[in-house]
Each structure stands twice: as C-alpha cells, then as structure tokens.
C-alpha cells in the first residue's frame, strides 16, 4: 500500500481536479477550447499542403483537370467549357474558352467558384479544391484556348515594389471602387468591390489581369507588371501600417467618426452634465 501511494496520488490529482471542477462555470469553455485546439491541430496536420506545383502542364494534369471539371464545373459551364445558355436567354455559366489559367486560379483559389448560390456577385469563401486540383483545372481550361497565365513569382515579390508609386497607382486606378486603403465599397444593384485586406498577392495580380465580375481588366499595356507589383506592395504596406492616432474605427472615415462623436462624445458629456447638476449646490 505505501508503494502504490505516489502513483495513486498522481492519478487521483487529475481525477480529483476533473471531477471536482466539472461543474465549474468555466469548465464548458475549457472543454470547448480543448476540443477546438485538437480539431484545429488535426486539421493543420492532416490538410493537404498548398505548396505550389510549378511544373509545366503535362497531359496527365490536363486529363485530371478535365475529369475534375466534368464533375464540379460542367453542369453550368458545359463539358468542354463552352458555357450554357438556357432557352429563355439566361446564362447558366459563361464560356471559359480563352479565360486562361489565371482566371481559374483566381476564381477557384479564392473560393468564388464553385458558386454557393446565384446572387449579384460571387462571394469569397474557403476554396473547395486544393492547390494541386486547382492547377489541374487551370491547365485544362488553359488547354482550351490561350488566355492570361498565372503570374511569375518575380512580380509577386513585394520587397521589390515601390510603395509610394504603388499608392499613386492604386488611388488613380483602384480606389474609385476599393477605397484608398482597399476597404472595398458598394457598387450598383448589390454588387460590391471586395475588401482587399488579407488577399494573397497572386490573387490580386490575377484579378487585375482577368477582371473578375464587375472589375475591369487592367492588362499589361495599361498597368505594367512592375506597376502591379507596386500596387500589391502598397496594399501590403497599408495593411501592416500601424494607426498612430489610436483606434482605427475601421479606417472608414467620417461616417464612423460622426457616429463616435454623437454616441460616445455627446453621450459621455450629457452623462457628465447630468452628474454635475445632481451635485449638491448649497450657496
């Protein structure tokens, strides 16, 4: 019995803690956190890696892409990417002939395709395919007809970009819809320019050369690859820039500032005024 004591006591220490604390108000939260960590860790360990496969499109890759396309995309875009138009003239899926690999990599890589539901605009969401599958799909669509290719690594290296010049280019070409700091904005009839915070450089570049949804195409003649790199460098710099003035309140400008002035500023001061007049005033 003395020999088994240390072991028992160690076991009972955890057991005691678990049993005596199981009704603690924070117990449920602790369990939740533990489960989330386990699930998140397992996902990180088991999820397929997204290292880029930069080898040239082989015929097996195109064939794999064709099969993926037939399963996931052809119901709207047609078996050969020719697009489908219903009898009443409604476009079920546009033709993908000539849209190029960049377009597929952007649309599928940002999760916009496959579409969750028809709406004014496809929403960004977690991608449904891994990068290997996306590359196969891109290779297949690129094999249909030539189109914009995915950008070279060279143009995505923001350390070579000129932030100040990128800022000027961004304000001149992009801020009309995306706002000067890339916060996005509203367009007509439920369309919108998305917030660019946290978007991968590759996807920003691809959006510029393919012009997805309401966005115009900025081809290499109007905005050169160097310009695009500067723009991406500017966006990265703005996102990482601290706010020296304090709370950024969304960097949203005067609407948010006005709300704060009324709700917090005047609200606080009226509270203070009420407090002041309730103080005793014996002359």
């Amino acid at each position: 019995m003395p020999r088994s004591l240390p072991g028992r006591s160690r076991g009972s220490w955890i057991g005691r803690l678990l049993s005596s604390r199981r009704r603690h108000p924070l117990a449920a939260i602790a369990v939740l956190v533990a489960v989330l960590f386990t699930a998140g860790g397992a996902y990180a360990a088991l999820a397929p890696s997204t290292t880029q496969n930069v080898q040239a499109a082989s015929s097996t890759q195109i064939e794999e892409g064709r099969q993926l396309f037939a399963v996931g995309c052809s119901s709207c875009h047609g078996l050969n990417g020719e697009g489908q138009v219903q009898e009443d003239g409604e476009v079920l899926g546009p033709s993908l002939i000539g849209v190029g690999a960049a377009s597929v990599d952007f649309q599928v890589g940002t999760g916009r395709m496959p579409l969750a539901a028809p709406s004014a605009q496809a929403e960004r969401k977690p991608p449904s395919y891994n990068q290997r599958q996306i590359d196969s799909l891109s290779a297949f669509v690129a094999s249909l007809a030539p189109g914009p290719a995915e950008p070279d690594e060279e143009w995505l290296d923001t350390s070579q970009g000129n932030v100040a010049r990128g800022g000027e280019l961004f304000r001149t070409n992009c801020s009309q819809c995306h706002n000067t700091t890339g916060q996005g904005g509203a367009l007509t009839m439920g369309q919108f320019a998305p917030n660019l915070t946290g978007v991968e450089p590759k996807h920003i570049y691809e959006a510029m050369i393919t012009g997805p949804q309401a966005m115009p195409v900025f081809n290499d003649n109007t905005v050169t690859p160097e310009d695009k790199r500067d723009i991406i460098a500017f966006l990265e710099s703005v996102q990482n820039e601290p706010d020296p003035g304090g709370l950024a309140i969304g960097r949203a400008g005067p609407v948010a500032e006005g709300l704060w002035a009324w709700l917090v500023g005047i609200g606080l001061l009226i509270g203070m005024a009420t407090w002041i007049v309730t103080r005793s005033s014996k002359a």
Binding site: S175, A186, W262
Partner: protein, 547 residues
C-alpha cells in the same frame, strides 16, 4: 497669509476706485442660474469652441496654406517622392514630425465634431422646450446663425489639408455653384480664381477659417451670452418657480465652480477622444488629385445631410436656350439649405402666429404639453436622419450587405412618408402622456395594489399625489384654440378682420385643438368628491353599477 490678502485687497481697491466695478459686480456676481442637465448643452459647445481655438492656434504655427506643388521629402515613407501641395505636406509634417502635432490635429477635429453636435443638441433643447419664445427670438436667430457659421468653419477646415477627401468635398461645392443658373460659372471662377481647382482656393479658405469665421462666431457667442445674461435663464415650473422669477444657484460661487469644472470635463473628454481614437488619417487618403474620387468618400457629419440629398436626388435636368438647368444639383445643394434654414429661423414667429400670444415666457414647456411643436421637431429629426443615412448610403450598403439602390429608393420614398408618420406618432404619444398626467392629477398614482372586495370585485388602489407632485403636472398654462368669432356682428356688418382671424384660428386649432387640458378646479373637486384620490382606499371608477 494675511499680508497676501491685504495686498490683493489693495489691488482690488485700486482698480475699484478707478473703474467702480464693485456695484456692477455685486449685482451680477450672484446672478441666479437654474439647474438642469439640458441647460449645459450650450456650455459643451462653448467649451469645445475654446478647445478648437487653442488647438487651432497650435496648428497654424506649422500649417502652410499653399497649393505649391512639391515632391514629398518628409518622414512618412509610404509617401516619399509623391507629388503633393505644401498644404498636404505640412499636414503630414504636423502628423508625423511635430511633437504633439497629431494629438493637436485630432483634438481640433474631434473638438469640431463635438462643437457642432453640441450646438445641434442645444438647439433641439431650446426648440422642444419652447425657450425661443418672446423675449428670446433674437437669441434664437443668433443661434441659427452660429450653427451656420459653425458648419462653414467646419467645412473650410475640412478642406484645408488638401487631401483626397478635402478636394472631393470642394469639387462638390464647385458643382453646387455651377448649378446656380446664370451666375454659377462666374461665382465658381471667382471663388477658385479660374478653372477648378486652381492654385488659390486653399490660401483663400485659410483666412476665412482662422480669422473671419471664428471672429464672427466669437462676436456672436458674446452677444448670445450677454443677451442670455440680461434676459436671465429660463427654467422649469414648479413650487416657487414662476414666470416672474428664476430659481437656482448663484453664479458665484456655485456656477463658477460647476461651469469651471464642466469646462475641464469637456476638454478632458475631447482630449481623451483625440488621444485614443484616430480621426481623419489624411496620410491614408493621399494627396488631392482631381482625377481621383475614392469609394467611401464622405463629408463630416454636419455636411452629411447635404451630401445625402445629392446622392438620392433623381437625375433631373432640362435646357433653357441651350443652357442646362441641373435640378439634380440645384435642388439638393442650393435650395435645400434654404428650405431647411428659413422655417428654422422663422419658427418663433410662426408659432406666435398660432398662439396669438405676445406675452413674455420665462417658464419652459414640457415637450408633451405642446404636442404639435414636439411632433414637428421629431418629424424634422427623422427628415434629417434620413438624409444622413443617404449620405452614408455606400457605407450602410456594405455594412448591411444590401444593394445601395434599395437604400436610395428607401430614402426617396421615406423622405416624404416617414416625417409625417413621425409627426403623427409623436403627437399621439404626447397626447397619451398628457392624458396620463391628467388621470394622475384627478385620481392619484396607481399603486399596483389590487384589492378584492367582499363581493368579489377587483379594483386597484390609487394613492393621491402630494400637493407639490400635483403642481409639477399642472403649472403649465391652459392653451385653448382661438375662436375667430362671428363673420358679421349683430347688425349684419361684416367683420373686416374676419379673414385673417380665421387663418389664425385654423393654425391655432392645428396646434391646440387636440391638446388634453389639465383638469379644471371643478373637475378636480368633482373627482375628489367621488372618493377618488382621497386617503382611504376606494374602488376604481368602473361603470359597473355595483358601487
């Protein structure tokens, strides 16, 4: 210690023997001010204005109101070598290189937002309590002028840094000026020194912003306060508080301490906001470039209603002898301010027309006791807030994830439908509150104690109000709608003033026709006689026939 007091006494005596101020001081230093939180809204405006003046002086030491084009060489690296005006460059310098400069910029800007918000809140208080009535119409007019000057001060200041938001705001002003028929192009050319944007506008706005407008505001604030001092402050009625006195605490020492303390609180809150919340980060907007208009471009809140009106206005335009008349800009940008400000300024006379009352009023109205005025006020607030929402239509479309077109149509229809609905709803609420006050006076307060009588009837116990509680609910005047009298007198001679009297009577009926009057002495006695409101328990006045 006593030598200090003696020394101070000698100085005071020296001054007094020469300018004999002691009599005046003796009379005025104990001037009485009534206590109510809403009487301090104007003080918030005053103290924030002082804060704006102080921080503004600091900013002038570094800011250069120049549109000279330079390449930026300052400390903010993401703007290096970018072409900009000196005005914008010195604003960046203030933000990043001058010690305390960013804090002062933020104090100035938060102070301005608070200043205008406090003025607006103060004006609403004066409106809803009827403090603008005779003899205070002049101060009402000065107040409306101050509000306009405040907006002008804010807008000129917003335009000075020459950042992207500033320039876009000025571009809209230019558009508004161009929409004025005949003189529009000349006026714009005159203001901007030629074609927009030119090289002059910042240098022209600067003296307006730091000298002309603040000077006018300071002069009018002085007049505003002197008239207030002379006419004395209004107060709420109550036991011992009548139309012929002011009940409250003396200026010295109570209000010197309270207002002085409140001044530091207001300044503290503004500095707190400035130190913790970023406002107008011009380095993120970029220098002004007429070819660039960013998404999410908004004016400061006090111009938001005009921007909103522009945004929701349908694109109406027609031609007169090949000259375009752009109603889509002319109506919201030029006519709307007049449509809002004229009735606002003239409101005291409009209401006087309805009441036909030329007496002085030093007692405030509880908003419920003038349901139509309160309804008009709330309808105006709804109108104004709708235009605000329109001014942030893209912002709200993004936040709420709805099409921006829906917001536009909601405002276009709502601007005509919702204010009248708000008027009706507010008036009904006021009448309901009046009815409750009347019931309270006649039958006492509901205690929540339910009694069961021996024969099984339920009734709630009512506790009578104390004398002073009842007085709180009944000190206001009875205001009956006026009667135009007969069109012809007994001899069949037509009354020459009948027409104007009938108009006045209609207005009066609109204002006071539905008002729930406080009980008359007879009604009160009759109610008390029935055992209601007496000390003993009683049954409620249900027409049950069992009493």
């Amino acid at each position: 210690m006593s030598s200090i007091v003696n020394g101070a006494g000698k100085v005071v005596d020296f001054v007094d023997q020469r300018i004999t101020a002691s009599n005046w001081l003796k009379r005025n230093i104990r001037k009485v001010f009534p206590d109510h939180w809403s009487f301090l809204l104007g003080e918030i405006a005053l103290f924030s204005f002082i804060m704006i003046l102080l921080s503004g002086v600091f900013l002038t030491l570094w800011f250069k109101p120049s549109m000279a084009h330079i390449a930026y060489e300052g400390a903010y690296l993401p703007m290096r070598d970018v072409g900009m005006s000196e005005a914008y460059a010195t604003t960046l310098e203030l933000s990043f290189e001058v010690r305390g400069g960013l804090l002062m910029r933020q104090v100035h800007h938060w102070g301005a937002l608070i200043f205008l918000a406090a003025m607006s809140a103060h004006m609403l208080r004066v409106f809803f309590t009827g403090a603008f009535r005779k003899p205070r119409e002049i101060n009402w007019l000065i107040g409306v002028t101050l509000l306009v000057l405040g907006v002008a001060a804010g807008f000129t200041g917003y335009s000075l840094p020459d950042d992207l938001l500033s320039g876009t705001g000025l571009r809209i002003i230019e558009g508004g000026m161009l929409a004025i028929p005949i003189i529009g192009t000349y006026a714009s050319s005159f203001l901007f020194g030629g074609e927009y944007p030119g090289d002059d506008i910042i240098a022209r706005l600067y003296p307006m912003h730091i000298l002309l407008i603040p000077g006018l505001i300071l002069a009018l604030v002085t007049a505003h306060l002197m008239i207030l001092w002379y006419q004395k402050h209004t107060h709420w009625g109550g036991p011992g508080k009548t139309n012929h006195n002011v009940a409250g605490a003396p200026f010295y020492p109570i209000y010197v301490a309270k207002a002085g303390g409140f001044q530091f609180i207001v300044m503290g809150v503004i500095v707190l906001l400035a130190a913790t919340i970023q406002i107008n980060p011009v380095w993120l907007w970029g220098p002004y470039d007429p070819s660039v208009v960013s998404a999410g471009t908004q004016p400061d809140w006090y111009v938001g209603f005009l921007d909103g009106a522009l945004r929701v206005m349908p694109a109406w335009e027609f031609y007169v002898f090949d000259h375009p008349v752009s109603l889509s800009v002319l109506i919201p940008a030029i006519l709307l301010p007049g449509i809002i400000l004229t009735p606002l300024a003239l409101y005291p006379w409009l209401e006087q027309k309805a009441t036909g009352d030329t007496r002085e009023h030093h007692l405030l109205d509880r908003p419920r006791n003038v349901p139509v005025r309160t309804g008009i006020g709330v309808a105006f607030i709804v109108f104004y807030v709708l235009l605000w929402i329109a001014g942030g239509n893209d912002f709200f479309a993004t936040i709420l994830e709805i099409p921006v077109n829906w917001i536009t149509w909601f405002i276009r229809i709502g601007i005509f439908v919702l204010p009248p609905l708000a008027f009706i709803a507010t008036k009904r609420i006021c009448l309901g509150l009046q009815r409750r006050d009347r019931d309270k006076v006649m039958h006492g307060r509901e205690t929540g104690i339910v009694m069961v009588s021996p024969d099984g009837e339920f009734s709630e116990l009512h506790a009578p109000l104390t004398q002073s509680q009842a007085y709180e609910l009944t000190w206001h005047e009875r205001q009956l709608p006026s009667d135009p009298g007969p069109a012809t007198d007994a001899n069949g001679i037509p009354n020459p003033n009948y027409r104007s009297k009938r108009v006045q009577a209609r207005l009066s009926r609109f204002y006071f026709g539905d008002v729930v009057q406080k009980p008359t002495v007879e009604e009160l006695e009759a109610a008390h006689h029935n055992g209601h409101g007496s000390d003993s328990a009683h049954r409620d006045e249900l027409p049950s026939g069992q009493q």
